[in-house]
Symmetry: D2
């Protein structure tokens, strides 16, 4: 079988693993207070050109989102989020379990629209309703699209004018940063958001996300919140070692570029074959709409997700490539697609 079902099927990139092996018997202080974590944080700060941000390393994306929103919000404060947002759909109510309502808006192509934020504010006017206090965006989005710098600037402006925090989920941020057409940088994110995280789990680490807190008023006591949520690893150095390796020589961009490139090969082939797309994306997730009988054939040799039923005869599916996706796997998939669609 060939796997295109997600970007975390393998372990870690070779260089990440080597770094873990190399440092394995060093004795380090626990809980992320070691030199590797410090080094990784410095590397990330350099890339942003910012020394005034706080960096924290945690194990996964749901954890990062849960911690940040729990740390930043008072009990009655709510988060505005596109209805496709990971926190709204795929985190088993983690944010609500911390006591906060998510106000879902429709969004467009997985992205929130500035006017949707303003609409939410317009109808939340008194203490009988929750108080919108944060906006949640994802880049790349859950459906592989990316924000332009201009889009983020407008959203950031709306947030700051309305006393809302802008928080960016970057589970696939490196894929966005290396996508064709991207004009957003880590420095931009530090300027435009109050906090965001750079994902490692889906980009070649065993696991790990790097949370960046920019807004000074949100920094206090984040380590308390981390520990309280069971998110502080005893051997926190593992996160520091991995991120140091990933951020060195821009490995994190290289792994993301590889994933994007492999996925784009598939998307190009689909376009050539005139297979309709659910959405066209510049990153590592591809969403063709496939006839159900072809689907059955594809599933015989390839592992991938059915994304959304389009009609009785068509289904949008998702092919994901990763840092580890091999050329021969992509070629096998394209070859099969060509065969399936050649007869039409």
């Amino acid at each position: 079988m060939y796997y295109f079902n997600n970007d975390y099927s393998e372990g870690a990139h070779k260089k990440i693993l080597e770094a873990l092996i190399k440092t394995n018997f060093e004795q380090c202080p626990g809980y992320g207070l070691d030199e590797h974590c410090q080094k990784a944080a410095e590397l990330l700060k350099e890339k942003m050109g910012r020394n005034d941000v706080d960096v924290h390393f945690v194990s996964g994306g749901t954890q990062a989102n849960k911690l940040c929103l729990a740390a930043f919000l008072r009990p009655h404060e709510a988060i505005i989020c596109p209805d496709s947002g990971h926190i709204n759909v795929h985190e088993t109510g983690a944010v609500e379990a911390s006591g906060h309502k998510i106000i879902a808006v429709r969004g467009k192509d997985g992205k929130i629209l500035p006017e949707e934020i303003l609409n939410v504010l317009a109808v939340h006017h008194d203490e009988h309703m929750v108080k919108p206090k944060a906006v949640f965006v994802t880049d790349a989005t859950e459906i592989g699209t990316i924000y332009t710098l201009d889009e983020l600037k407008v959203i950031s402006k709306v947030c700051h004018e309305n006393d809302l925090y802008l928080y960016l989920d970057g589970a696939r941020l490196a894929n966005a940063l290396t996508a064709e057409g991207n004009d957003v940088s880590l420095a931009d994110l530090a300027n435009l958001t109050d906090a965001f995280y750079l994902g490692g789990t889906k980009n070649g680490l065993l696991f790990g996300e790097a949370i960046v807190i920019v807004n000074p008023s949100l920094k206090a006591d984040f380590r308390y919140i981390t520990k309280q949520n069971g998110a502080m690893l005893a051997k926190g150095r593992i996160l520091g070692v991995q991120f140091t390796a990933s951020l060195s020589d821009d490995l994190y961009l290289e792994t993301a570029k590889h994933a994007n490139m492999q996925a784009q090969k598939i998307q190009s082939a689909l376009e050539e074959l005139a297979v309709p797309l659910f959405i066209k994306t510049p990153t590592n997730q591809i969403f063709p709409i496939i006839e159900n009988d072809k689907l059955t054939l594809l599933h015989e040799s390839f592992v991938f997700s059915d994304w959304e039923k389009i009609d009785a005869e068509h289904t949008a599916v998702r092919f994901v490539c990763s840092w580890a996706t091999k050329n021969e796997d992509v070629e096998a998939l394209i070859a099969t697609l060509r065969k399936l669609y050649a007869h039409q």
Copy 2:
């Protein structure tokens, strides 16, 4: 410097690391639904002689405790716990953050006494007070002592007669199982508790704890609770791979025995030197009471924790050994202790 400050200063045991390397490029399903997790669970069930328990792997001890108590208890239900219990002192209120009160009792040598449980029940008689519903014990305890089988049997009986769950925190369970004088087995724990976990983080894994749920009424939907708390690793296979290695050929006992043995050498030396002990333990944590001037000298070459101020001139300190503690480090410590105490 020589490190005796905890049992998680290094990375992973060589065999654990090798297992990770060996399986690194296998493609596995995510979220702990892979064959490695299944294999590890089977190994653990075999050791208990029980096929009817549920096994879940998570990243750390605070996480394990938080998840279990959140999953098992209704909002008004409380946990009875010795006041030295990790959940009561060192988890930043993780249990309370899930909404549950901890009722702390004094305990003796880090262990809860059956009569303390009964006393708590006697004064909690109506709906103006929380409802005690679980008892929390740790083996080995936070101060290195261990429960005897008889002690656990009595506590278990009190729990079951009073409709209380018995939950055992096993962060250092392997150290207890391999301690001199221990007569408790994994099979006993499955018989006597409603749930417990076997710690890996402090026993040679990069990280990882294996939660065992015995009581059938507590099993439902544990994976939902895991995900909701941000505790479900995308690459859950990492936990399965590590535990499979640790549980194979009884590596988990070997690593724990090594830690105990190294610590016991230190304790024997202290006793020979007539250094008073805060508590005598059979496991991998040693608690001598040291004069403050000697303390200063010791801290120059050794990293360890001051545990509790005894009086103006004496402090109880803690030396911890681990699976990775080297002979030469132990010898260096003993040599220094001998030098310090020779002049008396």
Copy 3:
């Protein structure tokens, strides 16, 4: 000014107040354990023809909803609710503050559709999403409509077939029970729901809602949850006294009928004048769509809420009548409406 803005502008119905005065100096046990609460519970059980339900009295509707859902659900379990549902919009995230996600569906005329429930179930299939476990309905709904017995039967069937609790918010239940066209009885609610409450605050009491728990598996320890949420009145007898008065001689139906009747006079007048309705209702809330210039004139003499902007020139507004609404006030409103619409 004439008040049509809500159904809680005045204090209590004369008979309620008299009952409070009459019993004021009786010495009663605290916390709802008094004879008045017992008597009120019995009266309510009689009306349902059910002795096997639990009845609890609390102070308000948000409190009733919050308590029930906190008591009934495990942390990862969610509530399906029409998006107009009070818990979704007007309770400041009280349900989320207890840790539970609300899954809002569109509904129709303020009522949930059975197929919406099934759709939610269809997409919530694993532990990465919350687990739908309860359905929330309101009768009369937030926009004054009522459920038919057949509608409730179908919803109840869907719930029970899918292991979902059916919970009914009855803040204006007496208005529904006495509405023209209603064919639902308290006995039906006991048969079809797992729990519901009968509202008193909006029906002539100073405050008070009577929660009825039908499903035996949901009854345990409700008083603990009540106390934990600060919802147990020391002088609980006040609730018992008021409900005993309200349930005696069917005062609760009389007060609700009065409210409905006054509102229906207004609705009839609006229809005569061909004023379009946002929705036609059989209860005590009336929702005409008014031109904005007429709105300004109406607001000069009448207090009422603007409900929803329809377009640049029209607004749906809400007139509410209560047990205390006077004939002359209704006549004044109708006279003004006639004057405003006469010139067209």
Copy 4:
């Protein structure tokens, strides 16, 4: 039977009830935004000589405590409290249900000692433990004692020097203010605490507590927290009407004085009879230690609580007097005590 079991056995003081009757048919805005609440708040501010505080009215003491601590604290922040504190013992874990740990200290005579606060701070030094952020005191305490102004000043100083909020539970504050030996005023409380509440439920109201928030940084959005916790009464005017009556002509002091006076008669009689006291108090709760055989006889005619078992033959009991306690009841109790103790 004569009732001495608590201070909420009757309904409301005659003047409170009259105020409710007199204003019953006024039409008021809902949710505490009416003129009666405003008037009551102004009366209370006048008594403090402070215009810069926020006043909120809620239904009960547990509710007041829960709301304040939920509003003031971040998730990892904890409350230091004497172990007899109401939040620690008799609120079914309401504070923990909001996510916060209570750190209980022994206290002395129901009062917290400044050094206990400092001791807690000394051992809570990093993010592995909760962060102490508030101190909870009660005046009069749960065992009837009162704080002196000097005691409160020292505690307040310790709090402010250590960035801790001082919160005072005033369920029986009027009893403290009117106790013999009291030198604390409402103005002092406004100067020394960050927030406190003045209890009405135990002082002649049907129910109601007046929360005073002094610290400007704690004021924001309190009404959101109130609504979210189901603590905002639709007919909030009932609280305003009652407190306006209670605060007019110092009725609140008169009712409290009456309760204290009746209780002190009992305490004097006990002292005359040389009955030992569990604690001597200047307020409305009296705690004699009674032989168990006499206890049985007393319980035949009087309702009161057994407080604490002293030894196999003696029990500390509690007699409570209220604004409604009648002379003849007190005389009957004293006569019986005299008869019981005359034979010795």
